[in-house]
């Protein structure tokens, strides 16, 4: 697989931001690295032709999450500490390293980006082909993702929407508030 210069730069940027979010000592700096990481990942999603996921990542990951984290931070005490980086424990490195190795072990079994036909079971799979062929006739929407989300798997989506609603109610309960504002 060959990478274009932009793709390689993006990957390096995202990895750098992820590392920064993990090791930066100042919580606010770590948060900023996390937001930049989310933005980078959202561009990678668009590059991989998953614009729906990219839009969600940009809006939720880089936008709302950052704001909520900053608000939470504003309500806590930030310890004044010296040093730019967190001191790194060997045990943590071993644990995280093992996790990364396990995740990387799954990468070779993924189909190559843009592969077609039998080489890519995701695209050539029966279910995918069914959605691509019948989504417009069945649901009258062009975006197959929306067709799956709101029609074929509508019951799942109702569950997801109720989960979001319950999250709001749970926050109200935990903070002992009665209204949303």
């Amino acid at each position: 697989m060959t990478l274009s210069l932009i793709e390689a730069a993006l990957l390096v940027f995202v990895l750098g931001c992820a590392l920064g979010a993990a090791v930066l000592r100042d919580v606010l700096a770590s948060l900023m690295a996390f937001a930049a990481y989310s933005l980078g990942v959202s561009i990678i999603w668009v590059m991989l032709e998953a614009p729906d996921v990219g839009l969600t990542e940009a809006a939720v990951g880089a936008g709302i999450m950052t704001i909520l984290f900053i608000l939470a931070l504003a309500n806590t005490v930030r310890p004044q500490e010296d040093g730019l980086f967190e001191s790194i424990h060997v045990r943590t490195v071993v644990l995280v390293g093992a996790f990364v190795v396990v995740m990387l072990a799954t990468v070779p079994s993924l189909p190559a980006i843009g592969a077609d036909g039998a080489a890519n079971p995701v695209v050539s799979g029966e279910v995918t082909q069914y959605y691509i062929e019948n989504a417009y006739a069945d649901t009258e929407v062009h975006n197959a993702v929306t067709a799956v989300l709101a029609a074929y798997r509508g019951f799942d989506t109702l569950g997801e929407a109720v989960v979001v609603f319950s999250a709001g109610v749970a926050a109200l309960t935990v903070l002992r508030q009665e209204v949303f504002a």
């Binding site: 729906d52 909520l68 309500n75 929407a161 979001v164 609603f165 999250a167 926050a171 002992r176 504002a181």
Partner: protein, 159 residues
Amino acid sequence: MSSDERERTGLYVESTIIMTTVRVVSPFVLTFALFVMFHGANSPGGGFQGGVIAGSVVMMLAFAYGIDAAREWLDVRVVAALASGGVLLFAAIGLGTMLLGGNFLEYHLYEQFLSHATAYGIELVELGIGGIVASVAIGLFFLLAAGFGHAVDSPEGES
């Protein structure tokens, strides 16, 4: 309450640049949110993404004009109605087809009342999701901004 408010005003910086920018930009952001919600059927997007963008409009206003001012300006009944109304709308559309003798969310059973009922049904469901997500995002924002000062009886949590 009062110590909390003092801290809030301490956080807020009144800036003409931010206020002007937000005043100009926010109508476009809201329009974009509605576009993402309505156009999710034919392009990337949908209720979840559009709802988050719509919720961010209120957060932008809060950053520009202060969280307390935004809290006073916002009608909590509208937020609560959007959240529960979204769930009710989605569930009603889904259960309606069961009343007509079909399965859950079998949109085409509505065709007898309305042509292109499937497309309209999906659009309404997306709007419902957008309402839920936007109002919960706004709600979490204000709840976190208020902090735990209201929840615990002693004001020790604030410093």
